[in-house]
Point group: C2
Chain length 382, copies 2
C-alpha cells in the first residue's frame, strides 16, 4: 500500500486568509486538534516573522505532538537560521520559479535560485533536520527551469520536493501528468502538492497529485488561505474515504467536525454550505424523490456514512417539495396512524402551508399534530 502524509497548513497558509487572527492559545488548540485527528505534518509560519511568531512556534513544538512541526521559510540565510534556532522537525523552503515570480517577486535567475538554495539545504541537513524545497508557482514554471532547480536540490539532499499550484490555475489532468513526470524522475525523494482554489479545483487537483505520485498533500481546515484558499481538510478526507479508504486507517474521523467547528467559531465565519462532510446540511435531504429513497436506505443518496464522522442525517419534511413518504415517516415517528388517503391529504396540506415559507422540524410536528386532531374532530363530528 502506498503511503500518504497529510500536511495541515492552517497555522501558516490559513493565517494568510483575510479573516484569520489566531491568538497563541488558539494556535495551540488547533495544533492539538490536528494531532488528535492524525495529520502527519503541521506547518507553521517562519519564526523570523516576529518575536511573537517565534514564541508561538516554540510553544507548538513544546506540545510534543505526534504530528511533525515544519516551518515555512524563505530561501534566505537569516530566515533559515531563525528557524533552526527553534526545535522544529523540519524546514519547508520555497522559492518562486515561474517567470512571473522571478520578475515581480524576488528578481533572481534560475542559476541564482540554485546558488541560494543549495548551501541552505546543506546547512539544514547538517543540523539534522528534515528539509523540503518547493518550486513556488510550479504550474506556470517552464519545465526546463523546474527540472534544473529540482535536479540541484535533490542532489543537495532534500527529503521532499514540492509543487504548489500557487495561483490556482491547474487542472486535475495537468497536475496528475506533471506529478507523474516528477515522481518518475526523482523516485527517491518525497513529492508534495499544494493547490489553490482560484478556479474551484483545489480538492480535485490535490487528489490528482496523489494519483500522479505525490506522497504528501497540503490542506487547511475549511480550506482557508490567501485569496479564496486551498484544498480543505474535509474535502481531502472525503476523497480518501471514497477512493482510498485504507489510507485513513490511522485517523480519528470523529474529530473532523470538531476541528472544522472550532476554526469556524474562532474566525467568526460559518462552515460553508458546500463543505464536504462538515457542512451543516451535508447529510440533509429535501426533495420528495430523495427523502422517500433515503428513508428506505440512506445509501440511495449518500456515499459517505455520517455515523463514521459522528454526525447525523436529517430528512427535511417541511418544504414545498416534501413528499408523502417523508410526511408519513414523520407522522409514524410521532405515533400517529394514518390511512393512505389521509396521508395524501396531510401531505397536500403541508405542501400548501410550506408555500408561504419552509417549516422547521418543530413547526412540522406542530402542523402534523394539529391536522391530526382536527381530522379526529371531523371524524367525531360525523
Amino acid at each position: 500500500m502506498r503511503k500518504l502524509d497529510i500536511l495541515d497548513s492552517t497555522l501558516r497558509e490559513g493565517e494568510q486568509y483575510i479573516k484569520t487572527y489566531f491568538t497563541q492559545e488558539q494556535r495551540l488548540m488547533i495544533a492539538r486538534l490536528l494531532d488528535a485527528l492524525g495529520v502527519a505534518f503541521i506547518e507553521v509560519p517562519s519564526p523570523i516573522a516576529s518575536p511573537e511568531t517565534h514564541e508561538a512556534v516554540e510553544a507548538i513544538c513544546a506540545l510534543n505532538l505526534r504530528s511533525k512541526i515544519v516551518a515555512h521559510v524563505r530561501c534566505v540565510e537569516a530566515d533559515v537560521q531563525a528557524a533552526l534556532e527553534t526545535p522544529v522537525y523540519g524546514l519547508n523552503l520555497f522559492y518562486g520559479t515561474s517567470s512571473e515570480l522571478r520578475s515581480f517577486s524576488h528578481g533572481r535567475r534560475i542559476d541564482q535560485i540554485k546558488q541560494d538554495a543549495v548551501p541552505l539545504i546543506h546547512a539544514i541537513r547538517a543540523a539534522g533536520r528534515y528539509v523540503r524545497f518547493s518550486a513556488e508557482d510550479a504550474f506556470r514554471s517552464d519545465l526546463v527551469d523546474l527540472l534544473t532547480v529540482f535536479d540541484a536540490v535533490v542532489e543537495a539532499g532534500v527529503d521532499r520536493i514540492g509543487l504548489p499550484d500557487t495561483v490556482g490555475i491547474a487542472t486535475p489532468r495537468q497536475v496528475e501528468r506533471l506529478l507523474h513526470l516528477i515522481s518518475s524522475r526523482y523516485p527517491h525523494v518525497g513529492i508534495e502538492f499544494h493547490g489553490h482554489n482560484d478556479t474551484g479545483c483545489a480538492i480535485a487537483n490535490t487528489i490528482g497529485a496523489f494519483e500522479g505520485g505525490a506522497d504528501c498533500l497540503d490542506v487547511t481546515v475549511l480550506g482557508i488561505g490567501e485569496r479564496n484558499g486551498i484544498a480543505s481538510l474535509s474535502g481531502i478526507i472525503a476523497q480518501l474515504y471514497i477512493h482510498y479508504p485504507d489510507l485513513l486507517a490511522g485517523y480519528d474521523l470523529t474529530r473532523l467536525a470538531e476541528i472544522d467547528e472550532y476554526v469556524s467559531q474562532t474566525l467568526g465565519v460559518p462552515i460553508p454550505f458546500n463543505m464536504p462532510i462538515t457542512a451543516p446540511n451535508a447529510f440533509t435531504h429535501r426533495a420528495g424523490v430523495h427523502t422517500k429513497a433515503v428513508l428506505q436506505n440512506p445509501r440511495a443518496y449518500e456515499v459517505l456514512d455520517p455515523d463514521d464522522f459522528g454526525l447525523t442525517r436529517h430528512v427535511d419534511v417541511g418544504s414545498r417539495y416534501t413528499g408523502r413518504h417523508a410526511v408519513g415517516h414523520r407522522a409514524s415517528t410521532l405515533g400517529l396512524q394514518l390511512t393512505n388517503e389521509e396521508l395524501v391529504q396531510l401531505t397536500q396540506a403541508l405542501k400548501k402551508h410550506a408555500e408561504r415559507g419552509a417549516l422547521k422540524s418543530e413547526e412540522v410536528d406542530m402542523f402534523i399534530h394539529t391536522w391530526y386532531q382536527e381530522k379526529g374532530s371531523l371524524v367525531w363530528e360525523r
Copy 2:
C-alpha cells in the same frame, strides 16, 4: 469551435438546498439576472409539484427571456402532461438507473424504465418540445444498463441525454472517460452533465465532462442544491475564463457578482469564502511576499483579472504578516514620504501592533498617520 450551453438550475436544484425559500418575485428576479448574464437554459421545477409551482413556471415563461426554460419532470405521464400544459421550451426527464435507485427509489427494472420513458419522449416530441433524458445516478449505474436505456431514448428521439453524478462520487478522470464513451456512441444528440459536491469535486468533474464531450453543463448560483450542492456558476465561469475563454464570448461577466450577491442575500447565507471570483476575498492579498509582488504586477498572484468581472483587488496591509512593500505603498498613497530606514521601523511597529489583532484599512491609515506625526515631532524636538 465547440459549442457549450450552461444550464442554471438554481430555481430547481437550488430550491432543494435546505435554506432556500424563494418567493415568486424572487424567482422572477433570479431568472432575469441569469438571462442578463447569458445562460442558455434555466431549469424550473415540475409544474405538477403544486398550483404555486405551476403558476411560477408560467410566470417565468411569460418573461420571454433569451434563456430557454426547461422543466425537470419525472417519467410519469401526469407529470409530463402538467408540464406540457405550460409554455416551457422543453422537458428534462430523469429516471434512476443505478441498482441503488432502482431498489430504493422507484422499484422499476431496466426494461420497465424503457417502457415508461419511450412513449413519453414520443409525446413530448409530438408536442414540438425539446426533450432531455437523464439517467439519474449514472456514475453508480452498470454500463450495460446505462447504454441499454440510452440506446432506447436516443432511438425515441431525445435532443439530449444527461449523466448526473447524483451522489457526488465521481472523479474528473472517471467523468471524462465515461462522457467520452457516451459522446462517441451517440454523436448526434447533445450530452449534459450534472455534478454533486459530496466529495468536493463538482467543479472539476463538470469541466471534466466538457473535456469528455458534454455540450451542456449544469450549475446553480453559489452551487446550492441537495446536501452540499453542485458545481457553482462562478466556478464554471472561472474554469472557462482560464481554459476556454472563447466559450464566454456571449456572456456579460460583470453580472456574475450581482447574481451571486442577490441569491446570497435572499438566502441569508454569505457567499462562501472559497467561491471562485465572487468570494469577498477572492482578490485579496495578505502575506508580505504576495503583496510585494502584486503591487508590482497583479499577474504575479492572480490568474483572473477582477476588472473583467467589475470587481476590485484589495491589498491587506494591517496583518502581522504584512511587509514593507505593502506598508510603503500605503504610506505613499497617503502622500507620506519615508526613508528606507523609516519604512523598516514603521513596518516593524505595524506588525507589532497587529499581533494584538488584524487592523482594518482605516485603522492602518490612522496608525501610519500617527506614527508619521510622532516621527515628525521627534525630528522637530531634536
